[in-house]
Symmetry: C2
């Protein structure tokens, strides 16, 4: 019943390593933080004071967000809680937003590391069995206090935009591949991907706003119920099922491990 969607998930898993939009990592500002992370990964050296300071800032921001929400936090608040000097903050981040984004990247990394571990544990030489959507709901649920304090607020827009781009980035290649086999789909490809991502995000935010009255599993099920038929309709009737044969179920080249080692690398140092 959900073949169409499962197919997309599979291909989306598979092709995630083939492209990486550098712009996805951060909206526009903090190329600095990315660069610092790169330096760290490459040279394996970083002044302890730096990591200590950044860690303190992170923790301060996170705890403050959960207390009073992002909007009401002032730089001084962060400084007080982190017990750091004013100039220190500005030596690391351009402004409050950059710190928030940087913290958010941490969460993203955490999520991807978890996924990778999960994936490795389930790897039986076959294609991945990990349901990304479900895992995404689980991850959101685990950190619901944080996400709730951010999403829906004014500045949540920034984060949601970021999330949108991130997810879209993961979806656009597989969807485009599937679409290519269709002559002229009734709904343009870009719209379909945008629609899917928006749907997912809307369910996540609803879930958070309403104090997660259902399990992550239920939300995953709901998402599938709502979008599966949309995808089918977007492809046009049912003929596209033949098109799927182009994509075999086996991983084309190399092992899944090799695939996922790429997956990890892509989280650091996008060439720009």
């Amino acid at each position: 019943m959900n073949i169409v969607f499962d197919k997309i998930i599979t291909i989306f898993h598979r092709s995630v390593n083939n492209q990486y939009d550098p712009d996805c990592s951060l909206p526009n500002k903090s190329a600095s933080s990315v660069r610092q992370k790169c330096r760290f990964m490459k040279e394996k050296k970083e002044d302890r004071r730096i990591s200590r300071t950044r860690k303190l800032m992170h923790e301060a921001l996170m705890s403050l967000i959960m207390e009073k929400g992002y909007e009401d936090i002032t730089v001084q608040d962060i400084l007080d809680r982190a017990d750091a000097g004013r100039s220190t903050f500005y030596a690391h981040y351009r402004d409050k937003d950059e710190l928030l984004l940087s913290s958010f990247e941490h969460l993203r990394d955490l999520f991807e590391q978890q996924q990778q571990a999960l994936f490795a544990s389930r790897n039986t030489g076959q294609d991945p069995e990990v349901n990304i959507i479900l895992e995404l709901f689980r991850h959101t649920g685990e950190h619901h206090k944080l996400y709730k304090a951010i999403a829906g607020k004014k500045s949540g827009e920034m984060i949601l935009k970021y999330l949108h781009r991130y997810l879209k980035n993961l979806l656009i290649v597989p969807v485009a591949k599937l679409m290519k086999s269709r002559k002229s789909p009734p709904v343009p490809i870009e719209i379909t991907t945008h629609y899917l991502v928006s749907s997912l995000i809307s369910l996540i935010t609803w879930w958070l706003d309403n104090n997660m009255p259902y399990s992550a599993e239920k939300m995953d099920e709901i998402f599938r119920i709502l979008t599966t038929s949309s995808i089918e309709a977007a492809f046009g009737n049912n003929k596209e099922i033949n098109g799927y044969d182009i994509f075999s179920n086996r991983h084309p080249e190399g092992s899944v491990k090799a695939f996922y080692s790429n997956f990890i690398d892509r989280n650091c140092c996008p060439e720009q």
Copy 2:
């Protein structure tokens, strides 16, 4: 093919007058502006100076938004362009956001007036033939400069939230009615309405962000393609089509005109 959706639209038309969430009008702040509008509608008297000032502020804000976007506008900018005194501004609005919301209500009123006119002109004694979704796209297209300058920005969140509540308000009753005929729909009612509204808004913002590459008609069609099957799936299989018979096509009591006179009234003075 689109019977399900058309049914919803129809019932949604019909029941729009039966409820009005006062909270929908404005997030939390400007109860003042609402009150002023009410006074204006009821007593038919308002100092010319007041309306003149408010009009100037509106126009200043709108032109500034289209020039530099909402974020970069300062109160002083508005004052300069409107050629008004600082204290005058604060006598009318709590802050910039309140002015924006107030301006937005103007747009909403405009939209609803247009709808009402359109509806009256097509009223042949039958049920309405107006496609709200299409009209919404048209209206957005007409004012695309404004909407584009707002949506997607940080503060656009506020407006989008507003729009979300507004549309949801229109949808929730008809959807709930339809749902009631089902024993236990696979997707909870609130999620379905939230999902539908989010989908609509996501298409609108995509349309704006990409400089409206398709006609409003095409977007309306796309929306239907994507959501029709979702609605069907949310109801559960196809049995619900029988449930529709509960709702006759005729307006239960009174004429359509009577219905729409209610529709107009509800835009003013929600009891609170």
